[in-house]
Symmetry: C2
Subunit: 499 residues, 2 copies
Amino acid sequence: METAELWKKYQEKMFVISSYDLVISTTYFDADTIAPIKGADYRNDRLAYLYGEVFSLQTDPELLELLEKLNSAEDLDDEKKRIVKWHLEDFNKMRYIPKELYVEYSQVQLEANDVWKKAKSENNYKLFEPYLFRLIELTKKTLEYRQTDLKGYNILLDDYEPGMNIEKYDRFFGLIKERLIPLIRRISKAEKIDTAFVYDYYPVEQQRKFMKEILDYMHYDFDAGVLAETEHPFSNAISKYDSRITTHYYENNLMSSVFSVVHEAGHATYNNQVRDDLAETFVFSNMSSGMHESQSRLMENYLARTSAFWDNLFPKVKELFPEQLKDVDQKKFVRAANASECSLIRTDADELTYPLHILIRYEIEKGIFDGSIDLNSLENIWNEKYEEYLGIRPSCSSEGILQDVHWAGGMFGYFPTYALGSGYAAQFMHAMRKDLDVDQLMRDNKFTVIKDWLREHIHQYGGLYLPEEQIRIATGEEFNPEYYVDYLTEKYTSLYFPE
Amino acid sequence: METAELWKKYQEKMFVISSYDLVISTTYFDADTIAPIKGADYRNDRLAYLYGEVFSLQTDPELLELLEKLNSAEDLDDEKKRIVKWHLEDFNKMRYIPKELYVEYSQVQLEANDVWKKAKSENNYKLFEPYLFRLIELTKKTLEYRQTDLKGYNILLDDYEPGMNIEKYDRFFGLIKERLIPLIRRISKAEKIDTAFVYDYYPVEQQRKFMKEILDYMHYDFDAGVLAETEHPFSNAISKYDSRITTHYYENNLMSSVFSVVHEAGHATYNNQVRDDLAETFVFSNMSSGMHESQSRLMENYLARTSAFWDNLFPKVKELFPEQLKDVDQKKFVRAANASECSLIRTDADELTYPLHILIRYEIEKGIFDGSIDLNSLENIWNEKYEEYLGIRPSCSSEGILQDVHWAGGMFGYFPTYALGSGYAAQFMHAMRKDLDVDQLMRDNKFTVIKDWLREHIHQYGGLYLPEEQIRIATGEEFNPEYYVDYLTEKYTSLYFPE
C-alpha cells in the first residue's frame, strides 16, 4: 500500500475513535453540569461499556499494523512521523491491559466520582475510602501489565509528563522547598494585605456578567466554547471548535471564580489555537499535563494577577459592584489578588503557597505506590503534612483529603504536573517578555497579540513535541526551574517587603 | 437455547443499543441547548457516523434471529411477547434500507437542522429550501425500500401512529372542519377576551422562578429531569431516570413558556412513570406519537387551562409579577389563557384553532407525497392555506413555512399526531373525570393523584399496547373523536357566548 493510502486508512480509524470521544466527552460534560442525579447509574453502566468499545478501537491490531507501517515508511513528512510515533507509544501503553480490567476500572472511576461528590458534600471520608482503595488497587494491577523499563509510580509520572520521574520531581520540589518555604515563613509574620472586601457579598447574577467581561477582554470565542457552571471548575476540549470551560460561583468570594475562569480559559485557548490541520489528529489533545497546565497558569497567574491586566477590567468590576468596592482602588484590588497566606484548599491557594499543596499530594502518592504509606492512615498523613508544610490542619475531610476530584478519577501522577506547569509558565513568560511589551499590550486592550505569541510559539503544535522540545522551541533553552522560584521570590519579596 | 437464555442474550443486545442511544441523545440535547455554533460540522459528521453504527446494531442479523426465536417461543409471558412483537415490526421497517442511504439521510437531517435555524433567524426560506427538497427526496427513496402493503404517505402515517392512514385522518379532520370551523368563525366576530396583560414585560429571571413553582406543583422530579432553555421547547427522555424538558422565554409573553413547560412536563411524566421493569426494554420509548402527544396535551390544555389548576399557583404568579398583574384576578388570568384567536404560529395557537394548523400541514404533506403539489410553490401553498382556514396570511417565512423544526428533521407524517393526541386526551380526561374529582384534587394541591391515575391507566405500560388497545384499556371504549369536538364546542361556546 502506498504511504498516502496508509495515512488515509489511519485517518479513517481516527475518525471513528474521535466519534466515540465526541459523544462520551459530551455526555461527561453533561453529567458534570446538568444531568439529574437519578440518571447516574443508568448512565455509568453504559459509559463503562462504551469505554470498553473505545478501548477495543484504540487497541485494534489493524490500527497497530497501520501505525507500524507508517512508522517505517520513508516518505512520511516529519510532522506525520511524530504523530505516528506518539500514537504508537500510546498504543503500547494500552495494548497489554486486559479489556475486562480496563472496563472494570472505568466503571469504578465513574462510580467513585459520584460517591466522592456525595462524600465531600457530607464531609464523610469513610464513604469514599473503599472506592479510593479500590482505585489504587486497580491502578497497581493495571501497572503490572505495562511493558516498560519504568517501574511503579514512575510509569504514572511519565504518562502524564513524558520524561519526568521521581528523581527529577524530587529535585524540582527540593528547589521549591529550599527557596520558597523560608519566604513563606517570613511572609506569615509580615503585615497582612487587606483582603476583607473580597469576602463581601457578590450576587451570582452580577458575577456572571463580570466573567463575560473578562472572557470578552481575553477574546475567548463563545462561538467555539461555552462557560458552564459546575461544583469543580474544569475545561473540556470536545473539539478545536468546541473548547469548553466551567466555573463555580461563591456569593462570598469575588476572586474565586475570576481566577478559575481565566485559568480554564487558558486551557481552552491552547486547544482552540491548535493548527487546523492538526486539529483532527492524535496530537490535538495529547499535550502533556504539565504543558497544558503551563498555559492555564500563565493566564491565571502571570497575566491576570498583574496590574496591567486590570486596567481595562477594573472600571467594569467597579461598575458591577459599586457598593462592595466603594473603598477599593485598582492597586488595592490587585494587591488582594496576590495576597499570600497558608490555607487549606489547593484551588484557592495563592501562587506562592500553591506548590506546597502539590508537594503534599506528590509525597503521598509516592508513598502509596512505593508501599511506605499505610492506606488506613491516609487522612491522618494528609493532615500532618498540611501541618508540617503549611502550618495549618484541616478540621474536616472536605477541606482536607476530600477536596480534590483527581483521585476519584484514578488520576494518580497528575498532581505534580500542576507545579511543574507553573514552572514552565515562568520560563515561557520570560521569553514572551523579551519579544513583547506584555503589560503595555494588556493596557492597550490588545490581549490577542499575547494569544498570537502563544499560538505561534506553543499552541499551534498541540502535542506534536515533547515538553522538553516544546520548551526549547518556545524559549531557546532547556527547562530551568530557577525562572519559577526567582519569579516568585522577586514578586513576593517586593509585595511584602518593599524597599 | 432455553427461552430464558434467549431473553438474556436479547437484553444484552438491547443494552448495547441503549448505550449508544444514551450518548447520542445526550449529545443531541447538548447541541440544542448549549453547544457552540462552530462545533456543529465536526459534531454532525461524527453523529452521522454513529447513527450508522446504531443502524447496524438495530439491523444486526443475530438480533433478528433472537427476536424470531423469541417470537416463536411458547413459554414467553404475554408482556415479553408483545415487546418482541413490536421490536420485530420495527426491525422489519429498518432491515431493507441500505445503510449508506440511512447514513446519508442522517447527515442531511443534521445539516438541515442547523441550516433551518439560520434560515429561520434570517427569515430566508430560500436558504432552507434545497435541504427540504433533499429530505423529501431521501424520504421517498427510503420508502421504496420498505416491504409493506402500505404505500407512500400511509407508510409514514403508520410509522408515527400505528393503524392510522389517509382515510382515517381525512375522516378525523373532516369532523374537525365540519364542527369547529363554524365555531371559530363565530368567535372571530364575538367580543374579544382581554389579553393585553399577557404581553406586558415579564423579566426572564422571574419567569424562571415561576416555572419552578409550576413544576413543583406538578411534582416534576428535578432529580430525574432537567429544565433547560432552547429556541424550540422539546422533551427528551434519555432514560426513565433522566427525562428532560426545555422551554423558551419571551420577555413580552407570560403565557408562552407556561404552557410549553406544562406540555413538555406531560411528555416527561409519561416516560418517567413507565414501569421499572419495562424501563430498559424496547417499549420504554416506542409509544406512538399520538399517545405521547395526548399526555402532553392533557396536561397543557385539559388541566393547566382550567381555573382549578391555578388555585394554588395564581397567588404565586401575582407575587412574582405584582406590577404587571395588579389589575388581574384569577378569573381574568384563566380567561386570557383560553382566549381563541386565529394566529400564525402553531405553538402559540389556542386549543380551538390549533387543529387547523395541523390540518394545513397534513394537507401539504399529503400533497407532497402523492405528487399533487409542485414543490417550488410550497411556501405559497402554505400561505394560501393559512388564508383559507385561518383567515390570515404570513408576512414572512419565519412566521410561515419556517416556523417548525419537524420538516428539517425529516419528520413527515408526524404533524397529524398532534391533533390526534388532543383527541385521545379528551377521551382520557372524560374517563379520568368519571374516577376522580379532578378539579377538587388540583385545588387541594393533590396533583400526584392525577399523575397516579395516568400511571395506572396509561404511563406504566410505555408502548406495550397499540394506541387503539391503550385507549380501550384506559377508557373502556374505542377511540371516539366526538369527545374532542364536543369538549371544544362546549368549552368555547360557554366561554364566548355565556347564556
